[in-house]
């Protein structure tokens, strides 16, 4: 039974409900116990002990746990052989100490801050005032480094100059730590200390952000990669994606196009899925969390980013459950550090131009090819049109040779009102003439007192479009505020607020299906920009884009994305942290576009009529409004037992809600077309429309980590999710995962080589994640309530009572039984670090099974009259690997630093392992065993040499026209005497065979860094080693669609009797027969691109300290300056695909200053 049925199976729901209740109870219990603990602990100076023959240090430690005292003593002086028996109940710590230290030769004294110092009898406790300075290896002060007495919470932080002062007992051990640096210990003394910390790099103590927490990198068992801000800060970026491209193996970033405002899209490990009713696989998008909240990474200022972590496998992403099936990207923004206010400014000016431009034919080649195509048509019953005359050719040649003294058009003898154009315009140069500017500025203020830190920043970015006459201006404003306050020892509050405001002003050309394309069709080189009489040229359906840009109105987009997250962190007792955060987001978008009619003129300014596609005048307004609320509550318990058993547990609840509304209005016939005011119209029935949807998600999750002796690592994750997107009986999903690792380097047998092999870890994981199948794009009723059959409303182009009839449509056929699809990942990895971290890296191999994908389950006869309802009935499997290698070194004098990072990955060997919708194995649909990207086509064996040879072969299945000499001769693979598609199935593909696969393989990125003294140099290469594609576009095939598709210079190498070995066949209009997918034209799109070259200079400290500036760096960056590829220059190998707004190559000048 396919049709909607609400009545069934209340049982499953009940069970689930119960589960949720249990989860809630668990959390409640934890909270409750915590309060008990708080109540017990913080009034405690008494302890209860029952220990026999115990190591005295263990007794101290036990007392530390039960009271708020800390003990300071010298390890060397208190022998571990000293055993004590103690049995006390609710006894004052001091009494216990008196008891156990009696006759031990030791005594104690209590200092401030509940510090108890144990010293040998007779020695007085000498409290020193320790002063010192913490610096990095270059001698630069480290601000905000922590200095504390080891084993205690007593400590301080360094000031702006790296200095600190601390009172500490004589001989006590100080621990000096700073994020990203190796922690050091020093014995307290009265002499001023200078402590030099070295950078941690990939080393053992590095902490990475993981789901709902952090973890030491060395203890990770999942496939996780991290990039820090240092990789993003050194140059200007269009958006975050721009900066991440190529840095992390198997994080594919697609810039899509170079049009201002274009969003980057992300994909992890090439995970692909299928969509019902589509024969193009869907490249999935990972879940992106900014400071723990799902956000669009394109809307944040790259300058605000502190680190980016990618969770690639199911086990590391499992904690995010429902939406993490396609990987997770965790973005952490910069946080203030304690200390006086620091003001940082970074700014840059960039000038950019297209990476590639199509080289169009000039008027000579155009006329020749046009007439050739027409002759081909005439000779074979194919497409024909009015050709260029002899006079046209002569006039065009005259203009080419002497543009100053010859006209670009003359009156058409057949229609004296219109020009026949004979100019020679390079439209690419007209549209993309030079360099377009970009600039960005970011100002940030941060700092903090002992308890509270803050950071406030304001970013501004402005980009002008490459298409000059479009005058597109894109502006982004990104204010942000972050406050973190440790109210008490056990209570921390933090508040994050950030906002993105975008203004995008572009011509209304997008509204008439003319925007975004890099080259309009029907833009022949013979047409000038202006008629000889000075009016804009055009005279046709699609006139020249310069005129449309100039005259047709604007399309303005205004977006506001406002985020607030409040978080409360409670540490009721040691080892336990409870966190609750609530996020509220409001996204609004207002788009306003107007069309202005304008006249087209012919010979000597004769009015020809209105340009067709901007008439009548109109203005449209779209208002989108999205509210998103998320609540996360989780508790973490972390402790190490008996020094060897590290244990961490996390339990939490995640709840999300989204409410989307859209309203749009369109009014035609404006009273003043140049005043795009929606109220000032004479439209008798303006159009209004709207959408309103809701969606909700609940998930409960848990994670357990266990580490034995730093050697054996185990992590278990589980998550239980419910979504509003499926029918109540099918809406819940449970996803477990497990991962384990072995730190071989920690084994005793490795001790000898510990100096060489700093780290060696193997790890394996297995996990399954559900995917709730959210389609990309804005929410619609169909996408948010896919299991409910609704009746779409609309209008019909037929007047009922004088207005277009309002319609309520027929519901789609829907199967309510579909549910989550599942992504299973198996991952095997190794991490290593050699020679004091000089060389480090990791390698991962994975298998991804994408199960129960929602597709049209089976083909049904057309008499059904509706699309087949989708069901969970396809599986995909992909395998891949990724490698990252780092090398870094420095000269002994600490002046020269150099490093290299290589990432290399392969993915997307995706095969269809189950598919019910294609019983006949038709080639135009998915089929079991197929590798995605497989391209079937014909085998090109050259050209027919004579018309007779061509006529002898039956090519009628490919194209109805008569085949001639110079048309492509395909191999008759099945030997049936004719060239055809057979039945278009794998069993009978006719004369087609598998001619290649269009999936890119071996993507790499290589980052080289050198700094010497005050200079720094970075270069970054990125590319794909193997990529083939079939270019089915008119810049490739001359006149592919019809006479209006303009050929490129590349296609001038066409067959003629004099040029029998040409790359292209004879020229035809709509020469479909020659444009079949075929082996000869599978192009190689491998490439190596120099994404970035940066040279920076930081002014010496001495020089700038006089002007009270702490740091001042100038740099120049070149982006996308060089590309090496065998692909022809009509295409940018990075986007492969024609008619996309070109990517930028650019040169930037920037400055970074810190006050």
């Amino acid at each position: 039974m396919i049709f909607l049925n609400h009545s069934k199976s209340v049982k499953a729901r009940y069970w689930l409900f119960k589960f949720l209740v249990i989860m809630k109870l668990t959390i409640t219990l934890i909270l409750f116990l915590s309060f008990q603990a708080i109540a017990n602990v913080y009034s405690q100076t008494k302890v209860t002990l029952d220990m026999r023959a115990a190591d005295i240090k263990k007794v101290f430690s036990a007392m530390e746990q039960q009271s708020n005292y800390h003990f300071v003593y010298s390890e060397r002086k208190i022998p571990s052989s000293k055993k004590v028996d103690i049995q006390v109940k609710d006894t004052e710590v001091k009494d216990v100490l008196n008891n156990i230290l009696s006759n031990s030769g030791f005594t104690f004294s209590e200092l401030a801050n509940h510090l108890i110092v144990i010293v040998p009898v007779g020695k007085t406790v000498n409290v020193l005032k320790v002063t010192g300075r913490v610096v990095d290896i270059k001698g630069e002060p480290l601000i905000g480094a922590t200095v504390k007495i080891k084993g205690t919470t007593t400590g301080t932080q360094t000031d702006v100059n790296g200095n600190f002062t601390l009172e500490a007992p004589d001989n006590s051990l100080l621990e000096i730590s700073y994020i990203g640096y190796i922690t050091k210990e020093e014995i307290a003394s009265d002499k001023p200390l200078v402590i030099t910390l070295t950078i941690n790099g990939t080393s053992l103590n590095e902490v990475v952000v993981v789901g709902y927490g952090t973890q030491k990198k060395v203890n990770l068992t999942g496939a996780i990669a991290t990039v820090g801000s240092e990789k993003l800060d050194s140059r200007p970026l269009v958006n975050l994606g721009d900066g991440l491209q190529g840095l992390i193996p198997n994080l594919d970033v697609n810039m899509n196009s170079g049009q201002p405002g274009t969003k980057s899209t992300f994909n992890v490990r090439g995970i692909t899925t299928l969509a019902p009713g589509s024969t193009t696989p869907t490249i999935t998008s990972p879940l992106v969390l900014v400071d723990g909240v799902a956000r669009d990474p394109n809307l944040i200022d790259p300058n605000d980013v502190a680190s980016v972590t990618v969770l690639k496998d199911a086990s590391s992403a499992a904690i995010y459950g429902s939406r993490a099936a396609n990987g997770v990207i965790l973005i952490t923004t910069k946080t203030g550090k304690k200390g006086p206010p620091r003001l940082t400014y970074s700014g840059s000016y960039t000038t950019s131009r297209p990476t590639q431009l199509v080289d169009q034919v000039n008027s000579d080649d155009y006329i020749k090819m046009f007439n050739y195509a027409n002759r081909s048509g005439l000779a074979s019953g194919g497409y024909t049109t009015s050709p260029f005359t002899e006079k046209d050719s002569l006039m065009a040649a005259a203009y080419r040779n002497d543009p100053a003294n010859n006209p670009t058009g003359y009156p058409d003898p057949g229609n004296p009102k219109k020009y026949r154009y004979v100019g020679n315009t390079d439209w690419m140069k007209v549209l993309y003439p030079g360099w377009a500017p970009q600039q960005q500025h970011n100002l940030s203020l941060s700092g903090g007192s002992d308890n509270t830190t803050y950071t406030a920043s304001m970013g501004y970015y402005r980009q002008n479009g490459l298409e000059k006459t479009a005058n597109q201006v894109f502006e982004r404003y990104t204010p942000a505020l972050k406050i973190n306050s440790d109210i008490t020892k056990w209570l921390t509050l933090n508040l994050n607020m950030s906002m993105t405001h975008i203004d995008n002003d572009q011509p209304a050309r997008t509204r008439i299906n003319q925007g975004g394309a890099w080259l309009e069709s029907n833009l022949p080189p013979v047409m000038p920009v202006f008629n000889p009489d000075g009016h804009y040229a055009g005279q046709g359906n699609y006139t020249n884009p310069v005129a449309v840009n100039d005259l047709s109105g604007r399309d303005k987009d205004d977006q506001n994305d406002f985020w607030t997250t409040g978080r409360i962190i409670i540490k009721p007792v040691d080892h336990l942290t409870l966190t609750a955060d609530y996020t509220w987001n409001k996204f609004t978008q207002f788009t306003k576009a107007n069309l202005i009619p304008f006249n087209e003129y012919g010979v000597d300014g004769t009015l020809l009529g209105l340009f067709p596609w901007t008439n009548p005048s109109q203005v449209s307004e779209n208002r989108a409004n999205n509210t998103y609320k998320a609540l996360n509550t989780f508790g973490t318990y972390e402790n190490t037992f008996a020094k060897k058993h590290y244990f961490k547990a996390l339990v939490g609840i995640n709840q999300e809600y989204q409410h989307y509304t859209l309203s749009n209005a369109l009014a035609k016939n404006l009273i003043d077309p140049n005043l795009p005011a929606i109220g000032s119209n004479s439209d008798s029935k303006p159009t209004v429309g709207g959408v309103e949807t809701e969606s909700a998600l609940i998930g409960t999750f848990t994670r357990l980590n266990y580490i034995y002796d730093n050697r054996y690592l185990l992590e278990v994750n589980a998550r239980y999710d419910g979504t509003s997107r499926f029918e109540p009986n099918n809406r819940y999903s449970f996803s477990p995962s497990v991962s384990a690792g072995w730190n071989i380097a920690e084994e005793s047998f490795m001790t000898n080589v510990k100096g060489t092999i700093n780290q060696l870890k193997v790890r394996a994981s297995y996990g399954q994640l559900p995917d709730q199948l959210t389609p990309p794009g804005l929410p619609s009723s169909v996408s948010q309530y896919p299991y409910i059959a609704t009746q779409a409303t609309g209008t019909v182009n037929y007047l009922i009572n004088g207005q277009p009839g309002i319609t309520v449509g027929t519901p789609l056929l829907i199967s309510p039984t579909f549910t989550w699809s599942k992504v299973q990942t198996k991952n095997l990895g190794v991490d290593f670090s050699l020679f004091n971290d000089k060389i480090s890296g990791s390698f991962d191999y994975f298998i991804i099974n994408n199960k129960d994908i929602l597709v049209n389950s089976s083909q049904l006869p057309a008499v059904l009259g509706a699309a087949t309802p989708p069901s969970n009935s396809a599986d995909l499997q992909s395998r891949g690997w990724e490698l990252s290698l780092n090398y870094k070194n420095q000269s002994p004098d600490n002046k020269l630093f150099y490093s290299a990072t290589l990432s290399l990955a392969n993915n997307s060997n995706t095969r269809v392992t189950r598919y019910g919708g294609n019983p006949t194995n038709a080639l135009n649909d998915y089929r079991v065993g197929q590798q995605l990207g497989d391209q079937y086509g014909f085998v090109n064996t050259g050209y027919y040499k004579t018309d007779a040879e061509a006529a002898a072969v039956d090519n009628s299945a490919l194209s109805g026209y008569k085949w001639l000499a110079g048309d492509i001769k395909y191999a008759d693979l099945n030997g049936d005497g004719k060239i055809d598609y057979g039945t278009g199935t794998t069993a009978n593909p006719g004369d087609q065979k598998l001619i290649g696969n269009s999936t890119p393989h071996y993507k790499f990125g290589l980052n080289l860094n050198v700094s010497y003294s005050n200079f720094d140099f970075t270069t970054f290469f990125q590319g794909v080693l193997q990529h083939r594609f079939y270019p089915n576009e008119y810049v490739f095939y001359a006149f592919r669609d019809d006479e209006y598709s303009i050929p490129s210079q590349l296609s001038t190498d066409y067959w003629t009797p004099q040029n029998p070995n040409a790359f292209f066949p004879r020229v035809r209009f709509a020469g479909g027969g020659n444009e079949q997918p075929q082996d000869k034209y599978m192009l190689n799109a491998a490439y190596l691109r120099v994404k970035q070259i940066t040279l920076g200079y930081t002014l010496p400290k001495l020089l700038i300290s006089k002007i009270k500036v702490q740091r001042l760096r100038f740099y120049v960056t070149g982006a996308n300056l060089f590309t090496f590829t065998p692909l022809n220059k009509n295409y940018d190998p990075e986007v492969v695909g024609f008619n996309t707004y070109p990517l930028n190559k650019s040169i930037s000048f920037g400055v970074q200053a810190t006050l």
């Binding site: 019953g381 024909t384 596609w613 008798s684 609704t790 009839g805 309520v808 008499v863 008569k962």
Partner: protein, 575 residues
Amino acid sequence: MKNKHIIYLVSALVLTIISCKKEGFLNRLPLSNISPQTFFKNETDLQLYCNQYYSNLPAQTFLRADDNSDDKANQTINPLLAGTYTIPPAASATDIAGTGAYSAGTATINGTGTNYNFSLIRSCNFFLSNYNKAAVSDDVKNIYVGETLFFRANDYWKKVKAFGDVPYINTYITDTTKTVLYGPRVPHQQVMDSVLKDLNFAVKSIPVTPAQSGRITKYAALALKARICLWEGTYRKYNANAGDPAPYLNAAVEAAEEIINSGAFSIYTTGKPQSDYYNLFIQEELQSNPEAILPMRYLASILTNDITRQLGQNGDGYSKNFVRSFLCTDGLPYSLSPLYKGDNTPDDEVTNRDPRYSQQIATRGFDLLNGDIITLPRIGTTNTSTGYQCIKGRSSSLAAWNAGQSTYDFFIFRYAETLLIEAEAKAEFGQCTQTVLDNTINKLRDRVGMPHMVIAALVKDPKSDFPALPVLLDEIRRERRIELGSEGFRLDDLKRWHAGNLINNPETILGMKLTPALKAQYPASQVSNIIVDANNYIRVYPNIIARTWTDRLYLYPIPTQELTLNSNIKQNPGW
């Protein structure tokens, strides 16, 4: 510590937030969409649902109409008639511009508006299984049931014309495992019997004056019934083993006469025989036009069309064969009339011909656009392939020519067609008396000032396309061809008359005579590529002398996938 109270408070708050969310949190129902559970309450609901059908009304736009017949020879040859039409792989495949290559999309068989798509049928069946919920009287319900059946009948008829026997689905299918999906093709006659039943219900229940202007009227239902029944009646008569034609011819007459006898309609005329016919098709307002049984209305800034701009372009053109069929002003065919001046020049050819010639084809003096006066027939892609440029519906108004801004109305059902149906159906019975002719054909002739068709005076045209046909029927068919030129009836007519082999006539792909003397008057750019035959007639397709009709072309092939999915479906003969 005092702070613990704060902790309790905050934690309690958090707990409250969590606890108050129940299963209900995940139950989200559509906020801005109609769902079947709550629809079909009242008459408005019934109307709103039925409105969706109206995009399927057979409006006559003239655009590239009859390119698939002997009337026209478009620059781009019709793939079916060129023999290059290939079997669609799936019902959802579209033939890209007749190249024989298919892509996904809604399949529309080139030039017929027909496809193997059953979504309209499904929409109708959904209505039929749900309308009863509405709290309105049966009479009111039946109006909309009538509308639904009107559209279902028309859609099935189109499928029968295209495919012959077709599966007949008259229930709303929700269970995709049901055998009804896998049934065999139902015989042509049986489907048409159901179509007639639907039509009869529609005629009976739809009022003469509908609740809203623009909705289907009783007369529109009658006009459709007359059209379909004439088609089916003559199909049965001229095609072997097709069944008894009588009930359908009777029904056609019955329906046509009910319209005629109502007196509600008449032939539009203002007493200007040289322009009335032309002007009829560039009317801003057909609602009150006496010839409009059902018009398709357009209103400025509310609903406009782009047809006027495209008419007379697209390399379209009438064939020599079509042009020859115009009578001379004495009522005789060119082969017999002493008034015929020959066709050495365009001016000669139009002289003394039926005034509908110059009102359908651009001849000297025609204002193509805003003062762009025709002197020589325009030839070329943006004009015409044959020199006979189609101007039915084309006006010289710049306002109507501006893209997408035309407000000229179209006919959906034109009274003239009804008259032609009456005459032909009566003639097939042998009941076409002079009175019948005077009430039908001769009304059309009066408008254009042509002499009456008089049975006693009819002379068989020696060059007739139907040499064996009785002269009366022959001349009625000629009248139909001329009056309904470019209205998209011709291929259907050839099929029902079993006259596909008329396509073989080489004249159906020839254009006007382009003598060297005439050619010399043209700018070279227009005619340099024009190829002519031995008699100087323009050859539209240089690589063929004639098109070849084969009998398989009477039916389109069933998409391959349908045969694979349902072994009960067999392919049409010859495909």
